[in-house]
């Protein structure tokens, strides 16, 4: 039989969330291996963002567990109190939102935005914070002469690059990406997508990538789950989901994506 599956870094089971009478997500579960990026595909309203927000701690789930393993330690992300969750969001879990305005303060500089998580993690030396911010901005290809400009003056693609730099500032163990290229012009989106892929490969961070776009998912992840109406309808290898989708809804999604692939 198959070799025992390699260990998981993140294990989500029975995740459910209702918004009043509307189902956010229902009984969602998956495992992500250390250093693996798992894709979550679905249309608007499929529940994919709800799943991500629950794991990030932005939204309180009704039921389920999300176990995060770091070395010998396992924490249930859904059982943390406020201070514990905030501490984990600084040291361990980072999220990149579709809208950079959600992840950044547009009224402060790029360098200031990146300094924020560093200071929260205990960095105190101004020179070292500046040096780290410079290093991160260089990594995401933001010109260093823009470091002290307000992020509000940046283009959409540049804002997203700053948000990525901020997200990886403390070398998180888990990176959550919510439609990270949606809304950007095609050429800009392609550049940001390349950057994300390079960051995932270089840092070997465990990641969840949420997107409605099969192309994004297939470039960033080797496995993915398909959500519809808050429920998982299929899980598989990304190229198998594209080549040989099993579920009726996955087949529709792929047929719709074919034009752009």
């Amino acid at each position: 039989m198959a070799e025992p599956a390699p260990g998981w870094a993140l294990r989500v089971t029975g995740l459910s969330k209702q918004f009043g009478r509307v189902t956010g997500c229902q009984d969602v579960g998956f495992e992500v291996a250390p250093g693996e990026a798992l894709g979550i595909i679905g249309e608007s309203g499929s529940g994919k963002t709800t799943v991500l927000r629950c794991i990030a701690g932005d939204v309180e789930p009704e039921a389920g567990t999300a176990l995060l393993r770091r070395g010998p330690d396992v924490v249930n992300l859904f059982a943390l109190d406020g201070p514990e969750r905030r501490a984990l969001r600084v040291s361990t879990i980072a999220i990149v939102y579709q809208d950079p305005a959600q992840g950044l303060n547009l009224r402060i500089s790029a360098g200031g935005n990146i300094a924020e998580p560093l200071i929260a993690a205990g960095w105190r030396n101004f020179g070292r914070i500046r040096a780290r911010a410079r290093e991160l901005l260089a990594r995401v290809d933001v010109p260093l002469d823009r470091m002290d400009d307000l992020v509000g003056t940046f283009s959409g693609g540049m804002r997203q690059r700053v948000q990525l730099a901020k997200a990886v500032a403390n070398n998180p163990a888990l990176l959550l990406l919510d439609e990270p290229t949606t809304g950007l012009d095609a050429a800009i989106a392609a550049g940001v997508l390349d950057l994300i892929r390079d960051l995932l490969e270089e840092t070997r961070v465990t990641a969840l990538v949420v997107s409605h776009d099969m192309t994004v998912i297939s470039m960033l992840s080797s496995r993915a789950v398909v959500l519809r109406g808050g429920r998982m309808v299929e899980a598989g290898l990304t190229d198998q989901l594209l080549e040989d989708p099993q579920d009726a809804y996955s087949q529709q999604l792929v047929a719709a994506a074919r034009g752009t692939l």
Partner: protein, 251 residues
């Protein structure tokens, strides 16, 4: 699992269920097949016979409906790819199998050298050694060095195919799956690629291939499996199964 073969396919069925039109399309109907270490087995037969589907079922970009696909791994453990969980398949792809089709997967805006270098890193090479390995692989397929810094998307079909081959063969896999690897190549580059494939077999790589070009099959294959309607219709040496050279067509 008794066989020592690198690949043992047993009773493989594949049925595509197309929900939108409520149809079931049988593609494979009970295929048995083995590929030994360093052996090259070529699949031939008319379009729609199931050749590419069989390769994809081994690569697991298609999910087999029934049957077994046993792979003897480099560490000599065996895994049934028809039943293995997705993460186990990811591991097998990283270490033991390569799949080269005539189509290049979209790879963003990376250069040719980066695309092939990334493939080396995925196979476990250190970044420092990966670029050198990529350069060597690109030289083996005789891709002109001035193209190494360009994006694959702007290359010709034949050049893209050689990039694909370089990426698929730079760290010799246990099993190489080839779907029309010389389809877009001119005769000079075709010779280069055929020599590369035959060299890999001599070095112990097992190959399961689909070639439109039956002269390539005669030249390279140890064994030919003739497929028709999703089944094995005949099996034997190239001489036993193919018409004499240049007459063309499987018997």
């Amino acid at each position: 699992m008794v066989s020592e073969a690198v690949l043992t396919v047993r009773g493989l069925h594949k049925q595509f269920v197309i929900h939108a039109i409520g149809r079931q399309v049988p593609a494979l109907r009970g295929v048995d097949l083995t590929v030994g270490a360093g052996q090259h087995v070529a699949l031939v037969g008319p379009s729609g016979a199931g050749k590419s589907t069989l390769l994809k079922c081994v690569w697991r970009s298609c999910l087999p409906s029934a049957g077994e696909v046993w792979l003897r791994r480099r560490d000599s453990t065996a895994v049934d790819l028809a039943a293995a969980d997705d993460r186990a398949v990811v591991e097998v792809r990283r270490h033991d199998i390569a799949y080269v089709s005539q189509f290049l997967r979209p790879d963003g805006r990376r250069s040719v050298l980066e695309v092939v270098g990334r493939a080396a890193i995925r196979r476990g090479l250190e970044p420092a050694g990966a670029t050198a390995a990529a350069a060597a692989a690109l030289r083996r397929v005789r891709l002109e060095e001035e193209l190494w810094k360009t994006q694959p998307a702007v290359l010709s079909g034949g050049e893209q195919q050689r990039v694909n081959l370089a990426a698929g063969t730079l760290c010799p896999p246990r099993l190489l799956l080839l779907d029309e690897p010389v389809a877009a190549l001119d005769s000079g580059h075709r010779e280069t690629v055929l020599a590369l494939i035959s060299g890999l077999c001599r070095a112990g790589v097992s190959v399961l291939s689909v070639f439109h070009d039956l002269d390539a099959v005669r030249l390279l294959a140890d064994r030919v499996v003739v497929m028709r309607d999703g089944q094995v219709a005949a099996e034997g040496s190239p001489d036993e199964t193919l018409e004499p050279a240049s007459a063309g067509g499987a018997r």
